[in-house]
Symmetry: D3
């Protein structure tokens, strides 16, 4: 899994509005080939058109925040149940890495969300196109501009840049290891 | 996902030798229908015939322990990448639950293994038949009879029975929630 | 499979024009989660844009009727051959239920169509998105506004409301039973 | 779908014991290529080893009868939900054809079973190998040697040979038509 | 696999701009049912909107030529790895057929491209929709209007019409034979 | 795709009897991880038990030869149509490489077979397990011990060792390139 942390977000990354979650985005704009994971810092404001989760749509949830650390994963081929499992594994990895950096905070994972106490640290979605599986996961850097009670990396005194790189490394290793685990067992 | 903790292991569960990891075992022997998760306490001694992981086979690993807490999951249909992702999510859930009960211990998940410091707490495998996906996950209750440096629930002062029930509840809820998450998103 | 008969069609159901046959429609508008089956009464006039069946498109078929009883099914994941088989099973179920209520009429199923004598009682289509399988099935309540020789529930003296509920119950039970039948057999 | 009615059962068909329900049987023994449907008359006595349905196994059901009309279908590739849907569609087709020949009898389909009044007319199972989907469906010709209250073609005054050929024709046409229906629709 | 060589290209085929590579095109416009392969002669100028290959998009490749022999294949269901393998097999078949007609030329296949010496003879792409697999393959008839150093059927003294028909016959036979080869082996 | 030419065949490779064509063989015996391709020289005598192709079984074909160059490929996951397409692409690659070394010989590929004039140069089969796709392809080194009119590498003056390495390199590159081609296109 190829990874990239974009430290100076280009025009197309300036604001995460959901349009970026589409097949081949990381390849088209950053040359990341095949299974890929991209990360960058940007405000979030997902428009209704790009709202993938109908639960959010029905509840008219706002999906926004002034500054978030984004992760976007694409892997091949389309496999939504694998995608959702991977999304939650990513939530677990991020939670564990953040917990290690902020040992006094009380972090927990609930489904695809991470909480610090009662504050929601993250947003996430997974879906598929006809060719690939896509995951978006974003962590609040600040609590400004968020629509509900949130927590943020600022609260935890975690610097986004270094943290992003750790997450990219940890998840991409995990992903490769999972792929390998599907290629070494006999059928039952 | 239907779950069952078998407090008084029947003959077929007396020793985990790998033969139990087969399609429909939980239904045939315990009437658990559909997606199912079974748990019980038994010694482990996986014979070469039932060794599913060729990595173990090549390295001539011994897979044994005098007393382990077993979890066996079957879900439909066959999907090995989902199975391996689910296996690691289960490892993460068990690690978090054990950590909460033993806050001073240093627990970590590495792939499908849980460690307490340097001691290996668990063994696990995931594979598929033509009809279903199967996962076995077992946690040492004691360090006796294990082939490498291990850790155990005894070290962590965790009682297997209550712990098993918590794990069954947490993973089965997670699984249902994952299934639901595959049924509420629009394609990309 | 969650079911709902919408006795007072909302704006989005006022006319079936084919736009309703899209992923997550029943969830978005009626909160039906997961595998779902919706039913309501409305006129039909499928526009060319929403014509899913190219056979109809090529033959420039009109798909219309002044008053029809609609059934719309969505199940997960995408599986078109299962979808078409399910569509015909639904046709068979509706035919049998109608036959029981109108024992003197001569009903027959031909593929995904139901006939009363030479009159066509129904229209239907099945297709997939990247996330789900969708089926539309509609039965004439009146013969008015139909483009070919048709038959209708009025001819059979069948009341749409009660009949709709019977069909919802029969098909959803059948569907659950089919799913169960995929989870209780050993591979060959 | 290639079809064959074997009027003089060969040695391998003399008794249906479940061993015939395996990949490529119809091709190996009768040269039926690709998607295939075979029919013949023979007694049934399914041994425990060849019992595919764990529900039968758990309930220690006997699957037997002195003289039954057998249908065995194989299609490619493996797709169990399509297989079970197809199995029920076959039950529906057989029920309708038998009803037409015995208009005074009260036939009904319940899942994959056909009943005449309270008497069970048929047995059936569907499963998959790694390469194909397999269905067995058999109809009692006589009530002799059956383990429960049954009905039979004799009761209905239906001659097995001609009936078998009608069923072969009807189901194989239906199957081809279903395949075609998966190849003429646009995605949603 | 149904095949058609359109000797007098209709309006929709007058120029290949990429819009033709969509599900059911051959059925909608030429009545080719099911797995289908269409061929015709037309200039090529693929617009950015219809550029399927992101590698081309990134490199801002021009995909054009004044006169090309087009082949468009659709088969069911969606299976992209089979599609890409089939695309290369097609390249191999065309290369071998052209080589036989021009024994002194040095033809070679590199991936999905055919070369005559250093000149590129062909362009090609394969992708999927939610219902089918699609391949476009085109061979230069002339070197006029091409964006790179090319070779053409004119160079090889090969007449497009007869050649097209040979290719249609060879690939469609190969495809049927491949399908048959998936229906005659036992699982491993 | 990991590749290995075993110049001194170990015990398990001494004779190809078909038992080697099983999941994970290359990993278990030679440590080749993941998608893998193995090659070696050995006599062939496939026993009836290990005959995968029912066409051979029905025709009671003998599959044997005193000295053959073997190629065995395994890739993940199971996908039989991709496997058969890959098998034929391999035949095409081997044919082209041999043709380049023996320019005066008349080589041709027919399906999964290579011919030199009327002499059959090769044997091959492709199938799947529940976890992977497997291909065996072997080329006669000598015509001794073969059951039909054959051709051999000896006839073509091709040395097996160097040739094997060329084939391993060419096919593994092609395979990687095919995988990449499934990860760079937008859906249609």
């Amino acid at each position: 899994m190829n990874t990239l942390y974009v430290s100076s977000p280009t025009k197309t990354l300036k604001k995460y509005d959901g349009s970026q979650l589409r097949p081949l985005f990381s390849y088209e704009h950053f040359g990341l080939k095949g299974n890929a994971m991209l990360s960058w810092v940007a405000p979030t404001d997902v428009t209704l058109t790009h709202m993938v989760d109908y639960e959010d749509k029905i509840e008219e949830s706002k999906i926004c925040g002034d500054k978030m650390l984004h992760f976007m994963i694409e892997f091949f081929p389309a496999n939504l149940s694998t995608g959702v499992m991977a999304q939650r594994l990513l939530a677990s990895i991020i939670k564990d890495l953040a917990q290690a950096k902020a040992p006094k905070a009380v972090l927990s994972r609930k489904g695809d969300d991470i909480y610090v106490g009662q504050g929601k640290l993250s947003i996430s979605i997974a879906s598929v196109s006809a060719v690939s599986t896509l995951i978006h996961f974003a962590v609040n850097i600040t609590n400004k501009g968020t629509p509900v009670k949130t927590a943020s990396l600022e609260d935890l005194k975690i610097k986004p840049d270094a943290f992003a790189k750790e997450v990219l490394k940890a998840f991409s290793s995990e992903f490769e290891d999972v792929m390998w685990a599907t290629q070494k067992v006999k059928p039952l």
